[in-house]
């Protein structure tokens, strides 16, 4: 059962590809496989739902690594949103999805009915989804389950907000990410990465901010060597 999958790890798969186990002998079917994003079980088969590269993590996890620019809200993800409106007790926040998310003004650290948070239309907020599904309006909060801000809330007096693809965002958020380590060698900067494909950076001067933004945008389609070469050229140039 594993072999059918392992054969294809690292290959490009397309939606509609089927991994069928009906032809196997009865006793070799008893292995447990965890289907990650992009794979779906359909009775005795596993169907591919997204186009991309099939990946494997030891033990038994398989998933499809796909490229996407359009963000779909999912519960628990931290995103950068832009406040678009204040309606009654909630703010309407644009997160780049199909509808705007709502953010209650009580969902900030230390906010009470009398002590309202200082949030204006046009501000950037780093928040987490508590409700995000296809049937309801998504809801954000700027506190964690203990009631602490934990880095979330309004930010970004200066700096630059730009969009990248979701694949690049996932690569940036990996612990000890290669791209971030290489960038740190260049000059000090602050960065906020939202899982909706939005990144905010701020460096000491405007020029450095723009350089960092351009480098991040160009990291999308480069291999590791090309990236290191480019960063070295920039470091020499400054």
């Amino acid at each position: 059962m594993f072999d059918i999958f392992k054969h294809k790890v690292g290959d490009v798969v397309l939606p509609g590809d089927v991994f069928s186990f009906a032809s196997l002998a009865q006793d070799s079917r008893m292995e447990k496989i965890i289907c990650g994003p992009g794979l779906r079980r359909n009775g005795d088969e596993v169907l591919v739902c997204k186009s991309g590269v099939l990946r494997h993590k030891p033990a038994n996890l398989f998933w499809v690594d796909s490229q996407q620019k359009r963000y779909v809200p999912a519960k628990g993800e931290s995103v950068i949103g832009i406040v678009t409106a204040k309606t009654g007790d909630t703010f309407k926040v644009d997160v780049g999805g199909s509808e705007q998310a709502s953010l209650s003004y009580l969902a900030f650290e230390g906010a009470t009915k009398r002590n309202r948070p200082n949030v204006q239309v046009g501000d950037l907020v780093y928040a987490q989804f508590i409700i995000a599904n296809k049937d309801m309006e998504p809801e954000l909060v700027c506190i964690d389950s203990c009631g602490r801000a934990n880095g979330m809330g309004v930010f970004g007096n200066d700096g630059l907000l730009f969009r990248v693809s979701l694949g690049l965002v996932r690569r940036l958020l990996v612990p000890r990410s290669e791209i971030v380590k290489d960038l740190e060698q260049l000059f000090p900067f602050e960065m906020v990465v939202g899982m909706n494909g939005r990144v905010w950076v701020r460096a000491q001067t405007t020029q450095q901010t723009l350089i960092v933004a351009n480098l991040l945008e160009s990291c999308e389609n480069m291999t590791a060597e090309q990236r290191k070469l480019l960063f070295r050229r920039v470091a020499d140039g400054c």
């Binding site: 779906r40 079980r41 359909n42 009775g43 409700i131 599904n133 049937d135 309801m136 309006e137 809801e139």
Partner: protein
């Protein structure tokens, strides 16, 4: 009782001497006029003059009353309530779809504040509920919107038929979970307990 003909509002039906105006009619200048569009019905009651009335449908409409068990379909959900369309009252289908609301507090009898609407209902589910009350909102003269307040806070009430995200009808496995037979994924719903007389042994 004899069905005469169709009429529209404002049509003169007969003179005031022949009949007594009934429902859907009014008396003006010694004549009876229709105020509704529908069938003209003349009821002969023996010695008294016949009563003439206008009715919309040939059969009387069955309205859900308080305490009745209704079958409804969820149309949209919200973090505070779920909106439904009432399809059947008891076992009789309704010709018109009445609107109903199931509030978050009325979904379960226990742990009312921990209810999540997304884990109880989804749009498209068929739900058995009981009528709590009816509110009529008069938008303008002649335009009334009725909204029924429903509850599922009993073991026998709740989701009866639900489809999974794969589109297949799910099988209930407990009072709060249903499973899709094809993808084997479990989803949360507030499931109605099947009545013993409907179970086929």
């Amino acid at each position: 009782m004899s069905l005469m003909k169709l009429c529209v509002p404002g049509e003169k039906l007969c003179s005031a001497e022949d009949c007594i105006p009934g429902a859907g009619t009014y008396l003006r200048h010694g004549h009876i006029f229709a105020s509704l569009a529908g069938y003209v019905l003349q009821k002969n009651e023996g010695e008294e003059p016949p009563v003439i009335s206008v009715i919309k449908e040939t059969e009387a409409q069955l309205l859900p009353d308080i305490g009745a068990i209704v079958t409804c379909k969820v149309t949209s959900i919200n973090s505070r309530f779920a909106k439904v369309h009432i399809l059947y009252v008891g076992s009789t289908p309704l010709k018109e779809r009445f609107r109903g609301t199931i509030r978050k507090e009325d979904v379960r009898a226990t742990e009312k504040d921990k209810v999540e609407t997304y884990k109880s209902f989804r749009p498209g589910d068929i739900v058995l509920a009981k009528v709590l009350s009816l509110t009529r909102i008069y938008i303008s003269l002649g335009d009334v919107q009725s909204n029924y307040l429903l509850t599922t806070a009993e073991n026998e009430l709740g989701v009866v038929v639900a489809h999974s995200e794969a589109g297949v009808q799910m099988v209930p496995i407990s009072w709060c979970e249903m499973q899709c037979p094809r993808t084997h994924a479990k989803e949360f719903r507030k499931v109605a307990r099947v009545q013993p007389e409907y179970l086929q042994a």
